[in-house]
Structures are given as C-alpha cells and as structure tokens.
Symmetry: C2
Subunit: 276 residues, 2 copies
Amino acid sequence: MRRVACAPLAPRVGDLAANRALTLAAIGAARRRGADLLVLPELATSGYVFADAAEARSVAVGADDRLLTDWAEAAGELTLVAGFCELGDDEALYNSAAVLDGDGVRAVYRKTHLWDREHLVFTPGSAPPPVVDTRAGRLGVLICYDLEFPELTRSLAMRGAEVIVAPVNWPLVARPPGERPPEVVIAMAAARTNRVFAAVCDRTGTERGLRWTAGTTILDESGWVLAESVEDALVVADLDPARARDKSLSGRNDALADRRHELYGTGEAQPGASAR
Amino acid sequence: MRRVACAPLAPRVGDLAANRALTLAAIGAARRRGADLLVLPELATSGYVFADAAEARSVAVGADDRLLTDWAEAAGELTLVAGFCELGDDEALYNSAAVLDGDGVRAVYRKTHLWDREHLVFTPGSAPPPVVDTRAGRLGVLICYDLEFPELTRSLAMRGAEVIVAPVNWPLVARPPGERPPEVVIAMAAARTNRVFAAVCDRTGTERGLRWTAGTTILDESGWVLAESVEDALVVADLDPARARDKSLSGRNDALADRRHELYGTGEAQPGASAR
C-alpha cells in the first residue's frame, strides 16, 4: 500500500516567496501524515491569473532553481509532483510539473494542451507526458486540461502508468445540482476505462475574481472516489498501485488487450505514421 | 430540435414473436410521443442470457428479414436504432444494431468489442461503427461495451457524429451509494470530451438470474443528463443535434482541434500505418 496525498493550496499570485513557504509547509504536513506521494496544484509557485506575461516571467524559475532543490530536500522519501511556472533554457515560459524526491528532480513535464489565456503566456510542451517509476508507484503526469484528452490518458495506461497524477487549476464552471465537477467525471471515466488510479490536486480560493472548483480527488482503479477535497485540508488515501497492472474486466475481457486499434481511425495521420 | 426517445424494454429470451410485438409496440408509443429518434436495447429481438449458441441461432434473423421490414414500415418518419441478434450471410451470429426508417434499413453495425460470454456465441464485427445521416441528426452507432473505448467514441466525433446512439444490456454491477452506474459515467465523459449528445438505451428486468442496470440515459453535449430511466417508461428528451457541431470550449480552445495526435503514442501500430 502507498499513501497518496494532495494538498489543495491557494497560491498567492505573483508571490514566489509566499508560495515557496506554502509548498514547503505542505510537504512537511504530508510527511507527517506518512505520505509516499504528494501532489500539489498546477502553478503552485506562481498562481494563475497573471496580469500579463511579464508578471508570470517575474516569478518563473528554471528546473535547476534552488526552489526545486529545496523541494527535493524536504521531500526525502516522499515523491512530490508539483506544478510550477517554468522559465526554460530557451527563455520561454512553460506551465510545468516536476516529479521529485530526495534524490532530486526525476522528471519535468511541460503542459501540452494549454487552456484559454495560457496561450498568451506559455509555450506548449513538445514532449509526451512522462511515465516515471517512483517509490510511490509508476506515475503518469498530466496537467489540468490535458486530462480532457482520453487518448492521452489511454496512452499513459498503455505505457504502464499505475497512477495518473495531475496538478490542476479548475476554474469553477456551472453544473447541475448534485453533480460532481465535470472534470472529475472525466477523470473517473479515464481511471475506470484504463484501470489506473488517479490523484488530481486542484487549488482552492478565488484569485482576481476567478473562483476555483477546489475539486481535488483521489480515484481508485475502478474510477470511484477514495478521497476528495474538504476545505483546504490535505486529501489522503491509501492504495496499492500494483492493482493497476491487472487490466482484466471479466474472464474474457481486458481493458487494454480488447482494443481494436484498426477500427479507431479519425481521418488524420497517426503517431508513427507521421511527425509534426 | 429533435425528440429523442429510448424504450427500456425487457425482451423475453429466445422468444422472437414476443419481442417482435414488444418492439413494434415501442415504435408505436414513440411515434405517438412525437419522437424523431427511437433507440431500443441491445439484442432486443432475442434477449441476452442464452443457454448456448444454438438457442441464439434459433432466434437470429438476417438484416433482410421481415422483422426489419416491419420495423421500417412502423417507423415511418421516425429513425429507429435497435439491437438484434443477426444471422449473417456467412452463417455466423452477430450482436448487431440496425438503423432504419420508413425508407428501409440505412445501416447495420456488428458489435466490435464483445463482452465475456458473448465470445461463445457471436463473431465480432470487422467494420468500424457507422456514422449515418438521418432525419434525427448524424448518428454514430455503438453497442454496449464498445462505449468503454474512448478512442472509439472519439473517432465517431471526429467523423462528424452528433449523437452517439447505443443499444446496451448492462449487467448490474456494484457501485458506491449515490453514484451513477459506471457505464453512465463513462458515457458522460465521452459526451463532454467530444461535445456530442448520447442516447443509451438499456434493458430492464432480470433474465435467468442476471439483473440488469436499467441505466437508460440521454445526455447533452456537455455530458449532463437530459433524461434517465424510471421503471419501464419511455425516456424522452428534446435536443438540437446541430449544437454538437460547435466544438469550441473557450475563445481559444476546441475539443477536437486541440488534439495533439503526435503525442498519443501507445507503442503499437496505428490505423493508417498498418492493417490487421
């Protein structure tokens, strides 16, 4: 069993020092709860509703920044997945997530599907999301809107991910009474159709008039909710990532082996057939 | 606007005459309600829990059978999508769905993803599901377990389907209190991520000890429930299929155009790159 935690923070937009303190405190809290994995929200270092690209740049850090070294040191045995505003070697800004533990930065993923005004600030990543072996299981890392592409969550499962880990910032949208946030419904379906766990860490609060969903949710490999956000408290669930290796659905069915990829044509060139 | 209806029948296993009467009665009821589209469950002509393949064969009919002619005649202006136990020209049995209207049979789809013991009775279809222009909108047709392949629902949307229409027979499975059937969650995510409507007609009752979910649901293009099963009553919703043509999610986002297919590799050959 592994203990998975998500810390639904409310970062302060444009205040790197305050967010450093918030994130380090969350790592401490998760370690005290015995967590093997901690997920922090998207852009936990910077906030989200930037006045302009210059404001984002003013708090962007490289993946070799002291902040990430401090995160790694604080993490120790714990594996941390945290969203941050990345300044690339190429001087471009990326909406990124780092996977770290006491040994340092294990992977950095740059969000590949940008949402709305993010296009005015960030460059989309050009590499597929990583699947990283960690002490907390084999993690497939996505960021927010990425989750809404079922071919992407499928590809992580096909590549062996046991837990889909997603820092998100979900702006609150209307939904019918009694319904879960629509993004959670999508994550539930992704978990169930792929037989993978999911740990989605959303932020909380309101930022420059934008209210957040606070939809942090940890899902089991049947897509059911193991734990979900209540106020700003740490969301914690114990799960066995290895259960995600069993894709059988019945004595004669397997969620991945039953795929008939020759039937899924969309009328466009496919990976392997062409490169962009 | 189009009026969409689903008739959650309980077919009698192995009794073609009884099921003919049930299905014709449902068509009549839907026409009286002014429906433009009627969906009937999977295997509405035969029932599901066959003692063996011979029993299925005893009630199988060809797509040119008098039953389908009668359905078409009864349908008139209404478009009907109905599951039936098909005897192929090749003498194989298929778990099929026909799309019909007063002009006759418009398409027949043979289920491509078979569930569990269906493998002992049916041959899986070899053709992708059809997308059919009808008076009730542009319909993409799937059957039951097919729905659990997000690459398949995606491909229907990419091919222009406005409404995913699915005859199903969902065996009742355990779910946490207060949750929808898991198959409905998957359909909601498929509708929302693809901006398509969905009309899923499940059967009702218990058959040879197998209890059915009775999960009939009509979804809007945001994945929310427009109407759902209450007892055996006709499930009806009015919707505008053309709204599914708008894939925009924000001023800068589009559910389909935002796809980055070069990033969705699964490590296997893709359609277009190879054939199976």
